[in-house]
């Protein structure tokens, strides 16, 4: 029986104590044995052991908090570090199904994954803030125009980033509808660059230089498409039904 298999027979409490002790050795830059912590992860993910997961949270939440506060995005997000720390654990929990655990051969690879999750939840939040900012800007341009707000259903500015699946479905439908209305590949590239990637016409031209005669060609293509879109009754109905 290998030593890792023998660890599988240890009581959870012993495992947690040993993981804790070895982690302290690790941070004191002493020789350390990562297998106890790894075994905790294995029980959590492979066996779905909630107590093992609680132990991992207990062991690593302060470390994850320190990662959050060191992330370059953190100062600009305006949200508590605890919020991102908890989301990071959730993301990790959801991200590794039992059958995928074998992709993580050691503790280092698991902690790297937890770091990736920490980054990912902060990026989710930053994306959400950027989109809310674009939405605010769109509404501020014509603050008196309260009569017709075709995108209000799609863009609920109060929706938190972890609850945006419904919105994304609506956005995908909208995007598909616009794609269907494109007459050619250049229109598709222009509106993707302009509306989806928020690029300037010059950037779009440089990205797809073989497609457009010049920068003006990008703007013209986009404007033609928009003019056609505004006249399209079916699209108008689609927005009203959204």
């Amino acid at each position: 029986m290998s030593h890792q298999n023998e660890l599988g027979l240890l009581p959870l409490r012993t495992l947690y104590d040993r993981c804790h002790r070895e982690s302290e050795r690790f941070f004191a830059q002493q020789d350390n044995d990562p297998r106890f912590c790894y075994e905790l992860f294995r029980r959590a993910f492979v066996h779905g052991n909630q107590l093992a997961w609680d132990c991992l949270y207990q062991q690593y939440h302060k470390l994850v908090l320190s990662w959050v506060t060191r992330h370059t995005l953190y100062p600009g997000l305006g949200e508590e570090a605890d919020y991102f720390m908890n989301r990071a654990f959730e993301k990790m929990w959801q991200g590794i199904p039992a059958e995928n655990f074998e992709k993580f051969p050691d503790l280092k690879s698991l902690l790297r994954y937890l770091q990736m999750c920490t980054h990912a939840v902060m990026v989710d939040f930053a994306r959400w803030k950027e989109q809310a900012h674009l939405w605010d800007r769109a509404r501020q341009l014509e603050p008196d125009d309260e009569l017709y707000d075709p995108f209000a259903t799609i863009m609920d500015p109060d929706m938190r980033p972890e609850r945006t699946v419904a919105r994304q479905e609506m956005q995908q439908i909208l995007w598909q509808r616009l794609n269907d209305l494109c007459n050619n590949e250049n229109e598709r590239l222009a509106i993707h660059g302009y509306f989806v990637l928020d690029l300037k016409p010059r950037q779009i031209y440089e990205l797809y230089s073989g497609h457009f005669a010049d920068v003006h060609d990008v703007s013209r293509t986009k404007d033609n498409f928009l003019a056609r879109l505004r006249r399209n009754d079916e699209f108008k109905e689609f927005l009203e039904d959204a």
Partner: protein, 196 residues
Amino acid sequence: MAQFDDSLKAALYRITCPDSAALGHYHLGLLPDAAATPIAEHLAICPHCTQEIAQLEAFLVETAVSHQPSISERIKVWIAKRLPTGGQPQAGWSSPTFAVRGGDTGPLMYEAGDAQLSLEVQDDPEHPGRKSILGLVLGIDTANVAARLLQADKEGTAVPLSPGGNFAFTNLAVGPYQLIITGPDIEIHLPELTIA
């Protein structure tokens, strides 16, 4: 007019971008080729995702937890297996749980990796109604090795092994225990030891 443009931009902003976890899986090499290829193609045109990947890379470097190489398997962990009188591990053992009663079983023999362990549970003459355990560990260097008896969540007292490998616990109540023998590079666990 401007509102229509800007509303459309707000509604579609980054709608074709992979979500942050997909980018993370891609960067960590966890995606199969079929899922990785469209992400690689997207990165070729999307400055936002390219920047997020660069941030992730910088973050992983900044928070890297490998400042000291881990010494894998520094400690040998052995779970003690009970031996029958003949000296071989019991066939088909499934759980290292044993109930031992003072005075009626004789020494219990265990094997744990290179070590052999014998335990003798007796009535404690000094403390009527209580038990004692006399233990002997052979087969390993016993310098700086200690035995610890734990009951439930209580941290048990550690007793050092003598140069000959002997140890003793006295004044014990009946009940479930856990015996751990710890040295600089070994751990022997007897996770469920019930003294009846």
